[in-house]
């Protein structure tokens, strides 16, 4: 199974590969005591990736300015501010003790759906990295800069909407059971999810799932 995960990760962009490896996996969410840690780890990983994107965007902005692109500064700064706002939201989110973190029973399909959100966000962050790279090329070629900045801004907005939806689902886990609510992405098979969290509690929880696949948490 872990070979399958490796194969999946290899098929993705390098940056996505790195972050997917850092995702806690469904196992991280299984035990209710560990859900906050798992969620925090996902958010920290995502924020780190977005921080790298922001640094890349700042570098491109300075290149653009040095090559006479003053008129694009405002638009690009708008994109950077949106990205910074998203990073801050991801880093400092506090969901309280209700919803997903509550003592209520969480069904396995809900865990699966939440994990799909995590994977989708990482993939979307990879798309953002691609858009920034396209902007870097556009600046070098001095062509198509405006539309490429628009694409970067749009991708940041998409990522923000995805994050909002995930947050909504954490506060009201029943949403995760609705067909079509979670993004339709290929989820890498996680062979030993419990080891991601590396605690005995997680291992026990994983065993519980094996015995009772319908209900966990």
């Amino acid at each position: 199974m872990s070979d399958q995960f490796v194969e999946y990760a290899k098929s993705q962009m390098g940056v996505i590969e790195r972050l997917l490896k850092g995702l806690p996996g469904i196992g991280g969410y299984i035990d209710k005591e560990l859900r906050r840690d798992a969620d925090k780890r996902v958010r920290d990983g995502l924020a780190q990736l977005l921080d790298q994107d922001k640094a890349a965007l700042l570098e491109v902005q300075n290149k653009l300015l040095n090559s006479g692109g003053l008129l694009f500064m405002d638009d690009l700064d708008g994109a950077i501010v949106k990205l910074q706002t998203l990073i801050d939201r991801v880093k400092t989110a506090s969901y309280g003790y209700a919803g997903f973190f509550d003592a209520q029973r969480i069904k396995e399909p809900q865990l699966d759906a939440l994990y799909r959100f995590d994977v989708a966000m990482v993939q979307e962050a990879g798309v953002l990295g691609g858009a920034i790279e396209a902007l870097r090329n556009a600046v070098a070629d001095k062509s198509n800069i405006g539309p490429t900045i628009d694409r970067v801004t749009q991708t940041i907005a998409d990522l923000g909407r995805l994050y909002d939806k995930r947050k909504e689902a954490i506060l009201a886990p029943d949403l995760l059971a609705q067909p079509g609510y979670a993004p339709d992405v290929a989820v890498p098979p996680v062979s030993n999810a419990a080891t991601d969290v590396a605690t005995p509690a997680a291992s026990n929880a994983a065993t519980d799932i094996a015995n009772d696949p319908d209900a966990v948490g």
Partner: protein
Amino acid sequence: MPRIIDVIDAPNMGANDLVMRVPEVGSGDFKLGSQVIVRDSQNAVFYRDGKSLDVFPGGRHTITTANLPFLSGLLKLGTGGKDIFTAEVYFVNMREFTDLKWGTPQPISLRDTELGYARVRGFGQYTIQVADPKRFVDQIVGTQGLYQTAQIEDYLRNAIISKLTDVLGENMTSIFDLPKLMDELSAAAKAKVSDAFLAVGIALKQFFVVSLTPTDETAKAIDERASMGAIGNMDAYMKYKAARAG
């Protein structure tokens, strides 16, 4: 008898405190197993023998050889088996510091295609956050016990003015373009300043140019040009000036 610090924390950081050192002066006597409690709005940089060994994020951290890998080797060399060692911890306030102000102490002189040269003054506000605690402590704080925003504001203000002058000089052809390009110039200055701040571990979160105005002298020249209705015609302007002088 040295006081052995079992719990290391900085719960009372003030609104303008960037860094708090524990202990405030000298080195503390820590032992393996001591707890470092770091608030969510803090990071802790752990120093031993003058070297920053680790940066702790928010949470409770027990000092062991596992989270300070270099430490075990150092201890073996230096203490002959005892687990007490001297070190210091710098708690870095990771919150945003808002409402910091900048302003030009002297007017910025610029070449101007319409007026020959123009002088402008500017002021505004900015928000910072420590982005890289280790770099910030290493490069700015040094070994001080307490470091506040007031101690770094001069440095930041000078960086802002230097970069703003650079941006205006490179991109502004005439002061008459200023209203049209205000947002663009502000964003450009922010980009340049961000780079300079990051070099010392600080992120520029927000940057506003509240006002960029001509000096009285330049304003008078603008008025003269406007009153004669000959903006852009230097020859007519010179004739006007000569007539006024006569």
